[in-house]
Amino acid sequence: MGALEGIEHVVVLMLENRSFDCMLGKLYPKDPSFEGLSGGERNLWLSQPVPVWASSIPLDVQAASIPDPDPGELFPDMNAQLFNGPRTAGAPPMSGFVQNYMDQKPPPAECQAVMHYFTPDQVPVISTLARSFGVCDQWHASAPCQTWPNRFFVHTGTSLGYVNNSNFPIPFPAPSIFKRLSDCGKGWRVYFHDVPQSLLLRDIWLEALFHFRFFSTFLSDAQNGTLPNYSFIEPRYFTDLFLNNIPNDEHPPHNVLYGEQLIADVYNAVRSSPCWKKTLLVITYDEHGGCFDHMAPPRAIPPDDHKHNGFAFDSYGVRVPAVIVSPYMPPGSKVREVPAGLPPQGPPYPFDHTSIIKTLRILFDLGPPLTRRDDVAPDLLEPLSLEEPMNDGPASVTPRASVPSVPELERRANARPNHMQGALSQMAAQLPSAPLAPDAALPEPVPLTAPVPETVAKAHARSIIQVRSFLGL
């Protein structure tokens, strides 16, 4: 019995804003079958080469938070990073990361921050899982866009022409894979820590209170063997001083070691669950967040006819880390759609976030594609090549112990919200104040206009009350 018949539970953990080279570039050094870092990659700054580099082991808090400050994430920043200037029709030279980073106002102190990568010993959890199961070095963000467009690609197969977190309509009207699962009688849950971005999806507002649960429920569902068919896990985006909780989304400049803790918690829960033998766990990131990657994104099939200032979403975004965990995955797998390397224009196409939609549609017989993008996306079932679920991997993974200090917590809490935090607080402010009745009329989308609170602490405190009110929690 292969994966197609054996997999009953798909779990996706999507973290924030790190490139493939940043997290896994040195996973298999000098391996010709792996598209990692050679060490010679560089960008220019003031005509001087700025090579890729790693901090010394072990990581301290400062090194684990590189790059600090956060690189540019907006659509113009993405174009500048890839093209070192305006977007052109040709293949991007991937040469503008440092220039774009230093173009920020005020300019950061260290130009090499965006060229930084973590060695496998410094991020042992994701590295161990990548080596024990499968790593995909051909997984790109769905578009060279910010977080929200890419997260909507994983839920709906499109961003309806939006390229940045701001100005999104609330609720977001594109049909989602969650609604497709509900319509086909399949179970799903979004497990979240504070403010789930997926709550913006319009077609699940009437049933959100039945499906959105705190992350602690994921741990108990896994332990009890009651995981739904599809679990989407959102990390913690805000600092919570009341509980001494710090973001574990790895969004720069958040400390990656807390994300390692989250990955470990998710894997350990799944691995020890009665559902383990029937589970596929995907650990990935929404977009590269301005961190360097050397692989040029290929051209893409536009998901629909929406455009942004002439950009037709006919290009993938930068590569992001993607680790595929399943007992059906042979250990040490390098998951590649094209063994010899991707062409600049497909087919075949790389893996992207719509590969998750494609995989779910096939596994659970969910019907036709949501958009043209997931129609052509490769699915994850072919790499799960073991006939029986034999690869149990490590019984557990242990992250490096890391407890946030009070100064670190206070610094994060009193900082200005980043783009993601600001957009989430706007979304929360415009949510209905109570769960909607099953027969309520869905509100028409309106722009996000709520003011963004001046600190992370204020944004968080207000947002979680509003989210809990809407979900009846």
Partner: protein
């Protein structure tokens, strides 16, 4: 006016009752008659002191922690360490003064009474020291509320007042123009959310009443608090009985003092890891 008093022992037939006073040639003993007035004065004094402490306990922060400066004074929890200190101080002080009034002489404060006061003071001080040292849930709540602009209870009352002011502006005649109404509405909503965040996060630290505050932490009843509470009452009763029977400061057995010391040390020691309400 002279009165006749007789004093005897219970006779056992056929036995000789020895004299307990003097050498048998000039047997005398003193009998002190305590004027009712002095007993009354002593009683009134004890009642006044206890009432003063009782009223002080209910209407001041004498016996309350100050875990969260954002709480109203009446919401602060009662402190077991401070209560113990006050308990022994009240007991020893009232006994000392009452004995002095009744006997019309300065009573001797026994070494054991001094030791009791010392143990209770050390317990109270130790409790405060532990609270100051550890990063408790109250410290987290304090930091969280400060990050929201709520550093003291005055900030909370200010926000409440600002909501009322804006609501009043909405009721003016003629009503404000739509953009002002929208601004006022946003301002009210923002402050209401702030107060909800405040209410949600102070709940674990608001007083549940004297007994619960003294005997529980965030996780409910705790053995180290209950044993300190119970032994304090037991030893206090032993002390009082001793004062009443002997009309003097009691001479505690050393083992009783050691019991008090161990009980208090247990409370302070277990206080460090507790999740304090």
């Amino acid at each position: 006016m002279p009165v006749t008093v007789s004093l005897g022992t219970k006779a056992i037939q056929g036995t000789v009752v020895p004299s307990v006073f003097g050498d048998g040639t000039n047997d005398k003993f003193g009998l002190v008659v305590i004027p009712t007035t002095r007993v009354f004065i002593a009683g009134v004094f004890v009642i006044v002191v206890i009432t003063t402490f009782w009223v002080g306990a209910r209407h001041s922060n004498w016996f309350r922690d100050n875990l969260l400066p954002q709480l109203a004074p009446a919401q602060q929890t009662y402190s077991l360490g401070r209560w113990q200190m006050a308990f022994w101080f009240t007991l020893i002080f009232t006994s000392f003064v009452a004995l002095g009034v009744v006997l019309w002489a300065v009573p001797t404060i026994s070494a054991q009474a001094l030791a009791l006061m010392g143990i209770s003071a050390a317990t109270g001080g130790g409790a405060i020291w532990v609270d100051d040292k550890k990063d408790s849930p109250a410290d987290k709540a304090n930091r969280g509320l400060q990050a929201l602009g709520l550093s003291t209870y005055a900030d909370v009352t200010r926000v409440t007042r600002e909501i009322a002011e804006r609501q009043a502006q909405l009721q003016t005649n003629p009503p404000p123009n739509p953009s002002v109404v929208q601004q006022l509405g946003l301002g009210i909503q923002d402050r209401q959310l702030l107060l909800r965040a405040y209410e949600d996060n102070i709940k674990p630290f608001v007083s549940d009443g004297w007994l619960k505050d003294l005997t529980t932490d965030l996780n409910g009843g705790t053995l180290h608090r209950w044993q300190a509470f119970i032994w304090t009452w037991v030893l206090g009763a032993v002390f009082l009985i001793g004062v009443y029977i002997n009309l003097a400061m009691p001479q505690f057995d050393m083992s009783l003092l050691a019991l008090m010391g161990i009980s208090s040390a247990g409370y302070v020691g277990f206080k460090y890891p507790e999740q304090q309400q």
